[in-house]
């Protein structure tokens, strides 16, 4: 892999506009990645999802040079209908179309320049890979005191024109003071057997509100990793919702730093998996100052050899008195070929805190099925009703009514 990496790296940047300082900077990340390689079972974080092995079995050797020059057509069928929204369309990692028609032009700034200071280092080897190969840093800034009037949908399309097996995408968002943004990420894949590595970085200044909904429901054979870093100042709020269902493999890692008093973070998610899919949500919510709050609810429904993992960590520093931290994961295993691994962790250094965690997994309750059937519904309907109810609980945590209904209809949940 080393030779391929160096070759593809040189090819990627030989005609680039980046100056040699920036390229050398990227080279450092490349060297770090070469040294560490793809993460595997030997690392605690990857114990339940051996990415190195999964990539080897599902894709084989990776190539990294992504010549994205062939243009891609965009047509109206690519957009969600019946739902007013702003949109950004990424196709094979390139921003093809940006449409912020509902917003005031001078309140939102978009740039794609690569800036050294916006690069986070030493998070993990996949972020290093991302830093090495992303030529652009997509940055969206919401200016002070501005609230997005309509949600922003980012469409992440891939198609068969991808030349490499690996795709890296880097997205930065800065929400200035007293702003709000509702962001929906829709993953829609027409490519096969690619490793897609996305890095999101959110900076929430005082009183900012971010609601981010990540939706992966289309069946595809891609392997995905996304790392989301959220930095939160005083009185800011982040709501992250993950609907993870479509890809062969998907690991969503959320790192949230509650740096300011009265900031709060909500992470809710559904892993609904069948056909040998293997998905993971790993969270690390760090309470770093007084009076901050976090809440996590993850539910999984598994069938047909599927495997789900939830590693949820709440960290409370010694300065973070009056922390309120909560997390719960529940899984329904519909068949005994399925597997659910949960690793809830609390690491607490302050003494005046309220923290709890819980995890439960099991099959559907046969007595509940009997009860429902005795009221005239057949076995399949009874089962669906119970699963529907189980998942609805998470969907109901979505605080935006319009988006809640959108997501409900996407997965066919009934009230």
């Amino acid at each position: 892999m080393e030779k391929q990496l160096i070759r593809d790296f040189e090819k990627s940047f030989e005609n680039s506009n980046l100056d040699s300082k920036k390229i050398n900077f990227k080279k450092e990340f490349l060297n770090k990645f070469i040294k560490e390689g793809l993460p595997g079972k030997n690392l605690e974080n990857w114990k339940y999802s051996d990415l190195s092995k999964i990539i080897k079995t599902e894709i084989g050797d990776l190539s990294f040079y992504n010549n994205i020059s062939p243009p891609n057509k965009i047509d109206s069928s690519m957009y969600l209908s019946g739902f007013e929204h702003n949109s950004i369309v990424f196709i094979n990692g390139r921003a093809e179309k940006i449409d912020l028609q509902f917003e005031e032009k001078d309140k939102v700034k978009i740039s794609e320049d690569f800036e050294l200071e916006k690069t986070s280092s030493n998070i993990n080897s996949l972020v290093n890979l991302n830093n090495a190969f992303t030529e652009k840093n997509f940055v969206l800034t919401v200016k002070e005191n501005y609230s997005f009037k309509k949600p922003l949908v980012i469409y992440h399309y891939t198609n068969k024109k991808i030349k490499s097996q690996n795709l890296n995408l880097r997205l930065n968002f800065e929400l200035e003071k007293n702003t709000s943004l509702k962001l929906i990420d829709i993953l829609d894949d027409f490519s096969e057997k690619n490793f897609i590595n996305t890095f999101y970085n959110f900076k929430l200044n005082q009183d900012a509100i971010l609601k981010n909904y990540k939706v992966d429901i289309k069946n595809n054979s891609n392997i995905k990793y996304s790392f989301t870093n959220i930095e939160q100042d005083k009185n800011s709020l982040s709501e992250t919702f993950i609907l993870s269902s479509g890809s062969a493999f998907n690991k969503n890692e959320i790192n949230c730093n509650l740096n300011g008093n009265y900031s709060s973070a909500f992470v809710n998610g559904i892993l609904s998996l069948n056909k040998k899919k293997h998905h993971e949500i790993r969270t690390s919510v760090n309470h770093l100052t007084e009076s901050t709050k976090s809440y996590q609810l993850i539910k999984s429904v598994l069938e047909n050899n599927a495997r789900a993992v939830y590693q949820g960590k709440i960290f409370v520093s010694s300065d973070a008195q009056k922390t309120d931290g909560y997390q719960l994961s529940k899984a329904i295993l519909l068949e005994d070929t399925t597997e659910f691994n949960a690793k809830p962790e609390l690491e607490i250094y302050a003494d005046d805190v309220k923290c709890s965690h819980g995890s439960a997994s099991g099959s559907l309750n046969e007595n509940s099925i009997f009860y429902i059937m005795s009221r005239g519904l057949n076995y399949k309907e009874a089962k669906e009703l119970l699963i529907n109810g189980f998942l609805l609980d998470v969907i109901n945590k979505i605080t935006d009514e319009e988006i809640k209904n959108l997501i409900k209809s996407m997965i066919g949940l009934k009230e």
Partner: protein, 244 residues
């Protein structure tokens, strides 16, 4: 309406019902009384088609072999079981569940399904009759309901589904006297020439309000004595041990 002949039921090697026979005619109310472990709940489970029992013998409901029907098909034919311990079903709205249930049964019978408005009218009327707090219908099914509310909810479901044969499995246990009267009122309102009831109970108390046509004593898996309402009173005085 319901004819049980020589019903035997076992769980593993353990025999629970033994040569149990019973004949319920349209419009009749039968009460089965028996001590703990006599097989009362097994009987109601088997009538509703719960899995997990080895059974032999014969049960006919309106001439149809009950063993050939799945649980939901028995509901479609008009059998209703009010559970001893109604299940909590998180995430399922009570109102919507009731409507889904009623329409599943109507559909199976080839009747027109009720629309939201028609259903609302029906459920309002029935809740009022049974003094069931309508606000609870917007909650998740039985979740956070008290023991008495759960039982009343069973009776509400019964009156909405209007079954031919209602089996009440210890519906009276855990009810205060007011709730007991309401439950009895719900049963009595459904008592018609074609609706039958099988009331399974420990105590005679409920039978003060629902007058049965026949009372049976179930011990060790078979009926040891049958009689009229006076048998229940006798039981109350003498206890099961003193009956022989």
């Amino acid at each position: 309406m319901l004819k049980i002949n020589n019903l035997k039921a076992k769980v593993g090697e353990k025999s629970i019902l033994n040569d149990f026979s019973l004949d319920i005619k349209p419009g009749e109310v039968h009460a089965i009384m028996g001590p703990n472990g006599s097989g009362k709940s097994t009987l109601s489970n088997i009538l509703s088609g719960k899995k997990g029992y080895d059974v032999s013998g014969e049960i006919k409901f309106e001439g149809i072999d009950l063993f050939s029907l799945e649980t939901e098909e028995r509901a479609h034919k008009g059998i209703f079981l009010a559970f001893q311990y109604p299940l909590e079903i998180p995430g399922v709205n009570t109102n919507i569940f009731l409507k889904t249930s009623l329409n599943a049964i109507r559909k199976a019978r080839g009747e027109k399904e009720l629309d939201a408005l028609e259903f609302l009218k029906l459920v309002k009327q029935k809740s009022k009759e049974l003094k069931f707090d309508e606000e609870k219908l917007n909650r998740q099914l039985n979740v956070g309901f008290s023991g008495g509310e759960k039982k009343k909810n069973e009776i509400l479901q019964m009156s909405i589904l209007n079954p031919k044969l209602s089996i009440l499995d210890e519906t009276d246990s855990g009810l205060d006297i007011d709730a007991l009267k309401t439950v009895a009122q719900g049963v009595n309102a459904l008592r018609k020439k074609n609706n039958s009831f099988l009331i399974i109970t420990h105590y005679q108390r409920l039978l003060d309000y629902i007058k049965p046509d026949h009372v049976h004593v179930l011990m060790n898996g078979k009926i040891t004595k049958s009689g009229g309402p006076e048998l229940a009173l006798e039981l109350e005085k003498k206890g099961y041990e003193g009956l022989n």
